[in-house]
């Protein structure tokens, strides 16, 4: 008798960790972005995407609101704003 003892790839995506956020979320100003890509690289959730200057944004379904993207941005083009803020 066998029951599955492996998990299929990428199935973690069903877990929408954006629900963890209660305090803050990132606002990508998309004004002075130089597309250095470091926000995309540092995000622990891997939920930031972008392709070229001023195109970077994050998937709020997964963002836990840590704020490291804002910290690493060399152009201060990402600001952490209160969760309730309309964007």
């Amino acid at each position: 008798m066998l029951v599955p003892i492996t998990a299929k790839p990428g199935t973690s995506r069903k877990n929408l960790t954006g629900s963890w956020r209660i305090m803050q979320k990132p606002h990508f100003l998309q004004k002075n972005c130089i597309a250095c890509n470091r926000c995309l690289l540092i995000c622990p959730e891997g939920c930031i995407e972008g392709d070229g200057k001023n195109t970077y944004h994050c998937d709020l379904d997964y963002c836990k609101g840590c704020g490291n993207c804002a910290a690493i941005c060399p152009k201060d083009d990402i600001k952490m704003v209160p969760e309730e803020t309309e964007l």
Binding site: M1, L2, V3, T6
Partner: protein
């Protein structure tokens, strides 16, 4: 072909014919000759196989785990402390349903340190989910390895198998063994087709976390498989006989038990001694018999019950002990009769610990003591004075 060969070397020859892709082993007396023989075959180009000289048994067991996980037939052998050191890896292997085969050359466990034969080591792992076989002779031990791969790799089973052989008594005995032909092994043992495998083309995660909601079912599945394996083992043994021409393996073996008043139940090489004593005593008019347990896990309860239910007095000879309780085999045999109609006297005797010799006289003594009150954990040949006075 019949050859005059050391038990360990015969095991190595058998494993060579099973064509593993990877072997990892670590030295420990008395099984080291198995690995040494195998690595010489590889060095001489007589065997194509990766041999990984691990830095401990915990690692050698993990190495074969990794190899099996990528779909390679793998092998390891160990004893005593090595088996205990790799214990958590063995549980992991069974839980991950990897069809590995491991030889345990039975040896006493520390402390005190003792390198001679008893069955404490493998018996300690009886809860692990590994199928466990005990060979009476080197011939049977070799044959059991081939059957082991066949059973382990069956896609309905996918469980690891431990083949136990008494250290020194069998590993270092040089005797005539019929080494099969490669062609026979190839016919009996198909190539390994793993149930799940680590492959970038179809990536899966193995060894994931199972929470209380899902863990139980994985354990139940192994337990159920063990039950299914009970039916499979005699069939595999029968198939083995067809191809190789001899009886080998199976669940249990009766020896002159049909009309016996007293039977000794035991595992491993000691059964040969019991059989010899039985033959002598039969000539003297005593109705005695022996029952060999070949498969200890899964426990062949039904087969045991059927063979023993008409025997009025049963002695179980354990070469190990669950300290504080009784011999493990004795406790298993008693459990077989629980709630059943037959209710024989079942006495447990402990002998042969740390390699202390079990002779025909020992066997006679057990048959003799069996006539007395039922006992659970009587040590045979105890001589406390002698040990104390040794100082």
């Amino acid at each position: 072909m019949r050859e005059f060969i050391e038990g360990s070397a015969a095991v190595a020859r058998t494993i060579r014919m099973c064509k593993p892709g990877l072997i990892s082993a670590y030295p420990i007396t008395p099984q080291t000759h198995i690995g040494e023989n195998l690595v010489q075959y590889i060095a001489d180009g007589e065997m194509e196989c990766e041999f990984v000289n691990s830095e401990s048994e915990h690692s050698s067991a993990s190495i074969i785990l990794g190899a099996s996980a990528v779909g390679v037939r793998a092998y390891n052998s160990t004893s005593s402390q090595g088996l205990l050191l790799m214990a958590e890896v063995l549980y992991s292997i069974a839980g991950m349903r990897l069809p590995l085969v491991l030889t345990c050359a039975n040896r006493a466990v520390s402390s005190p340190i003792n390198i001679w034969n008893d069955q404490q080591d493998s018996v300690t792992l009886r809860d692990s989910g590994w199928i466990q076989f005990y060979g009476e002779t080197n011939q049977e031990v070799c044959d059991l390895h081939i059957q082991a791969y066949r059973i382990a790799e069956d896609r309905n089973v996918s469980l690891p198998v431990m083949v136990c052989m008494d250290g020194y008594t069998l590993t270092h005995a040089v005797e005539v063994i019929d080494i099969p032909e490669q062609e026979q092994v190839d016919r009996f043992l198909p190539p390994f087709k793993p149930l799940h495998v680590l492959d970038p083309k179809d990536p899966v995660s193995m060894g994931v976390l199972y929470d209380p909601a899902s863990y139980t079912e994985t354990r139940y599945a192994i337990h159920e498989t063990m039950r299914e394996v009970l039916e499979m083992i005699p069939k595999v043994s029968a198939e083995f006989k067809e191809i190789f021409g001899r009886e080998s393996g199976g669940l249990i073996q009766e020896y002159k038990t049909k009309d016996a008043d007293k039977v000794i139940v035991a595992m491993g090489s000691v059964v040969s001694t019991v059989k010899e004593a039985v033959d002598e005593m039969r000539d003297e008019g005593e109705k005695v018999g022996a029952l060999k347990v070949i498969t200890h896990r899964p426990l062949p309860s039904q087969a045991l019950y059927n063979s023993l239910k008409h025997i009025p007095q049963i002695a179980v000879l354990d070469k190990s002990i669950s300290l504080g309780a009784a011999g493990p085999l004795c406790m298993d045999i008693r459990s077989v009769f629980q709630g059943k109609d037959a209710s024989p006297k079942i006495s447990g005797f402990v002998a042969g610990l740390g390699g202390r010799d079990i002779t025909k006289d020992t066997v006679r003594e057990i048959f003799d003591r069996l006539s007395g009150d039922q006992v659970s954990d009587q040590f045979i040949g105890l001589d406390v004075e002698q040990v104390i006075n040794a100082t």
